[in-house]
Each structure stands twice: as C-alpha cells, then as structure tokens.
C-alpha cells in the first residue's frame, strides 16, 4: 500500500492538519493573552514602553508614506477627474479613499513590517536565548510579562497611526491639489465635508484599523513565541509574521468592507 499516491496524499493530509493544529494553537494562545492581560493593564508602564517601541518609532515611516500616498492620490485623481470636468471632487476622492481604505490598510501593512517583525524577532530571540524559560523558572509568567504588553501596545498604536496616516494623506492631497495644481480651495474642503460622514466613513475606518491592530499584534507575538529557538527559526518566524499578517489584513479588509460599505 505504500506506493507514490498514498505518500502524496499522506503528505497533503499532514500539511493540512498541521495548519489547522497551528490555527488552534494560535487561538488558544490568543485566549491566554486575554486571560493574562490584567498584568499589562495593572503595570501600565510595561504597555507604555511597548507603545513607544511600536507606535512612536513607527511615526516617521507612517507620516512620510501618508504624505506621499496623499500627494499621489492628488495627482492621479486630478488627472482622472479632469476628464469628466469635475476636478472640484478631488477632495472627496482623496479623503474617502484614505479614510475608508488606504489609511487603515496601508498603515497596517507598514505597521506589520515595521513593528510586527520587530516584536517577533524580539520574542523569538528571547526564546532562543532561553530568557523566557528563565522567567518561568523565576515564577514570572512570560505571557503576562512579555507577550501581553507587546500585544496591547500594538493594538493601542495601530488606530492612532492609521488616523495620522489618513490626516497626513489628506494634507498631501491638499498640497498637490490646491497648492500645486490649483483646484479651488473652498470646493475642495466643502465637497469633502459634504460627502465624508463621521460615523459611516471615519468611524468605520477606525474600527478597521483597530481590527488590523489586533491581527498584526496577534500574529507577531504568536510567531515570536512559536519560533524555533535558533537563529534560522527566528528569521523564518519574522518572515512569516510579515507574510501572514499582510495576507490576513487584506482578507479581513475585504470582509469588513463587505459588511460596512454595501447597501445604502
């Protein structure tokens, strides 16, 4: 019975079930983070320190990319809208695409590669150098002391970074559209305000970025904690963090968009 076909099938089955096993492990890990979050909130300074490393240090990349994405949107949007003679709608185009989609999604992708990979590498190295085991020996729970603060630091930083990205992008669109090309400033802002709804657009964007923050932080701490305790294992885990969280962000974005922005 041990012919080629059964071997292929067995390999396929093993891969499939190991994926599912990992997903289950990740879910139990998520539950463990939730159960041990009390410490990171009681000793808030642990979390504040992580907000510094994930949020404050990501500021430059988020602000600069936001500005450039907004400026490109201004140029491209103007070019397209000019064909229909409705360049006054440039503000609407820039603001809606940033607040609804680009702000949360692009900043989450940047966040995954800037902060998520750093979290994974840090926790992975701690595991490789047996710092996590040493903590356990001293009766310090590594999930409460190391993992949960990093998770919450990421979840807190992400919506703020996305809001900064969108605001910077609108400013970039304003710079290119109004200052450089010369779209009327009044209609740029007034049409924007007339069609961007706070609850429908801005708040839904914030909810999106919050969900992305949970996804990126979860994937990052899990991959770090689950990394093989070798140099190779840590590098592989860091790569997996970026790939997995980017794919998860895009998939979650589609699902959230389908729920939020369809209908009326």
């Amino acid at each position: 019975m041990d012919n080629g076909l059964t071997r292929v099938l067995r390999q396929l089955g093993a891969q499939f079930s190991s994926r599912i096993w990992r997903l289950g492990y990740a879910s139990r890990f998520f539950l463990a983070i939730m159960l041990h979050s009390g410490t990171s909130l009681r000793r808030i300074h642990l979390t504040i320190r992580e907000v510094y490393f994930t949020g404050v240090l990501s500021l430059i990349i988020i602000l600069v990319s936001g500005l450039f994405v907004g400026m490109v949107l201004g140029l491209q949007g103007y070019d397209t809208l000019a064909r229909y003679g409705s360049t006054e709608a440039l503000g609407v185009l820039v603001a809606l695409s940033l607040v609804r989609e680009l702000g949360p999604v692009v900043s989450a992708l940047l966040f995954a590669s800037r902060a998520g990979s750093a979290i994974t590498a840090e926790i992975g190295m701690m595991k490789a150098t047996e710092q996590l085991s040493a903590m356990e020996m001293m009766a310090v729970d590594p999930i409460a002391r190391v993992v949960a603060p990093r998770f919450w630091g990421g979840v807190i930083s992400m919506p703020l970074l996305a809001a900064l990205f969108s605001a910077m992008g609108v400013f970039g669109g304003y710079l290119v559209g109004v200052q450089l090309i010369g779209v009327d400033e009044g209609s740029f802002w007034s049409q924007m305000q007339a069609s961007v709804d706070f609850r429908e657009d801005v708040l839904n964007g914030v909810i999106k970025s919050f969900v992305f923050g949970i996804i990126v932080s979860w994937v990052a701490v899990f991959e770090g904690y689950d990394a093989e305790p070798t140099a190779e294992g840590v590098s592989g885990a860091t790569t997996r963090t970026v790939v997995t969280s980017s794919l998860a962000i895009l998939a979650a974005d589609f699902i959230l968009t389908a729920f939020m922005f369809t209908g009326t």
């Binding site: 300074h45 504040i48 320190r49 907000v51 510094y52 949020g55 404050v56 500021l59 229909y84 003679g85 409705s86 603001a95 607040v99 930083s157 919506p159 703020l160 970074l161 809001a163 900064l164 969108s166 605001a167 910077m168 609108v170 802002w189 924007m192 305000q193 007339a194 961007v196 709804d197 706070f198 657009d201 801005v202 964007g205 914030v206 009326t264």
Partner: protein, 156 residues
C-alpha cells in the same frame, strides 16, 4: 531611556494621534455640521427623484437647512416619499415649493425649497405634495426629439 522621556514621547504620540482623529472628524468629516441642534421631520412626495440619495442636502436659497434621511416608494400611488430632517431654526411657509435640483451639470442632486408667502408654517411630520420632480435627461432629450419629428412630419 529614562521613564520620563519615554512617557513624554508616548504622550506626544497619543496626543498627535487623537489630534489627527479630531481633524478627520471635524475638518474632513461632517461631525461639526451634522449634529448641530434640534431638527424636525417632514416628508415630500415626488413623481421621480432621479438620482437623489439619502444624506443629500436640503437647500433654501443655496443655504443648507437639512438632510435627506429616508427615501421610500409609496406602494399605493407609486410615488417616491422622501423624508427630510430640517434644522429647527428654520420654519417654512406652508406653500413652500419643493424641487429636486442638480448642482452643476453632473453634480449630485439636492432638494431645494422655494419659500412661499403663507403666514402659516409647516408642522413637523407634514406631507408635502407641492413638489417638482427631478429632471431626467433622457426624458428631456426624447421629448425634444419627438417634437422635432412631429414638426418635420407637419412640414411634409
């Protein structure tokens, strides 16, 4: 890095982030204008509302006085019933004429009020039937073409 510097940076980050959110809410979004004060509701019946959308503006003499909150089809008369939220500061005479206008050639459609002279004003919840429907471009063109065709027939 010392604890105070760290706190300072995180505080700065959180403040800037919340500031960006405030900017999005007030300057980009419509939070400043949407929830200002009390409103009352009236509805208006149209033969055809064209491309009017929920959240569209209600303007009188060009000034925004309210928003479209709901659009429904009356199953008896097959007319569109549009519910409007009007700013309570503005009272309109009972014979005010309600029209659907378009801002610019391709712009979005909005409801226009042309105030009449009646001393009595609309009661909240009133149903207005004195309306003028949206101009549908295809109807206009076909009317023109049929008229033209009829004229040409007459000449022969």
């Amino acid at each position: 890095m010392s604890r105070t510097t760290l706190d300072l940076w995180v505080g700065f980050f959180v403040a800037v982030g919340l500031g960006a959110l405030l900017f999005l809410a007030l300057k980009v979004g419509n939070l400043a204008s949407s929830s200002s004060g009390e409103t009352y509701t009236i509805s208006a019946e149209f033969d055809n509302i064209g491309g009017l959308k929920v959240r569209g503006a209600v303007k009188s003499a060009g000034v925004v006085v309210g928003r479209v909150t709901n659009i429904q089809l009356d199953s008896q008369s097959f007319n569109a019933v549009v519910t409007l939220n009007i700013d309570a500061r503005y009272k309109f005479p009972r014979d005010t004429f309600v029209t659907i206008n378009t801002s610019g050639l391709l712009g979005e459609q909005y409801i226009g009020f042309k105030a009449g002279g009646d001393p009595e004003t609309w009661k909240p919840g009133a149903l207005i039937k004195k309306t003028q429907s949206a101009v549908v471009l295809e109807e206009l063109i076909s009317k023109f073409m049929f008229n033209k065709a009829a004229e040409d027939d007459g000449k022969k």
